[in-house]
């Protein structure tokens, strides 16, 4: 397993430390958390699976595109695979930049592209014992 996928809990503090840089005054951390809400029924956990050999380089391409677009930014991300209980983070993106507008923009770019392109799927595990695939969206390559 490479740098961008992990089978365990995501270390947010470690990602923050990884993007720290003397000249970067703004840092934006995005956390995607497995939620339990009325509209989601009684979801107890989500099981993430991936085309790992492709997801790693695809996530790396996304980050490289962001770094090319926002020079001076530092960006790391972790996507968790396997069973993630409600309330825990499935995805964390940390992005720092000299100025905050770039940190926000880079962060947003990475999450939107990850949602669009990462070959990752999820199955909801319900309290009833049932499980169901979450309807995703058609995957896209580079724009």
């Amino acid at each position: 397993m490479g740098a961008w996928l992990t089978d365990g809990a995501i270390d947010v503090a470690g990602l923050l430390a990884a993007v720290a840089a003397d000249g970067n005054g703004g840092t934006v951390v995005f956390l995607g958390t497995v939620r339990r809400s009325a509209e989601d029924g009684d979801v107890e956990a989500i099981e993430y699976s991936a085309y790992r050999e492709m997801a790693e380089p695809e996530l790396e391409r996304i980050v490289a595109e962001a770094l090319a677009q926002w020079p001076g930014a530092r960006i790391v991300l972790r996507h968790r695979l396997g069973v993630v209980p409600t309330g825990e983070a499935s995805l964390v993106i940390a992005a720092s930049a000299p100025h905050r507008a770039d940190a926000y923009a880079a962060s947003r770019f990475v999450i939107e592209e990850t949602k669009r392109r990462a070959p990752i799927w999820k199955k909801e595990r319900l309290a009833s014992g049932r499980a169901r695939w979450v309807e995703g969206r058609p995957a896209g390559g580079e724009r």
Binding site: G32, Y48, S49, A50, Y51, E53, M54, A55, P57, E58, H79, S90, L91, I111, T114, K115, R116, R117, A118, P119, I120, W121, K122, K123, W133, V134, E135, G136, R137, P138, A139, G140, G141, E142
Partner: protein, 83 residues
Amino acid sequence: MPEMHIRVRLFASYAEAAGADEMTVALPAGATAADCLAAVRAAPWAGRVPPAPALAVNRRYAKGDVVLRDGDEVAVIPPVAGG
């Protein structure tokens, strides 16, 4: 006509429907990713695979007109739901 063997990777609901996460497809030389997809969609389990799903060739998104080579890895990518 020389034959190519293409490794096809299946995921999520497609793998579940197929009862397998990969299959091998034999195709004539010069066949494209779209030809490979047609072979996959001919399988009895493949009713849920749409006519134009996202495809990857050798772990990178690709259009259907990409010409395959023997030993290539093709993936039929179900709608994604990462994040």
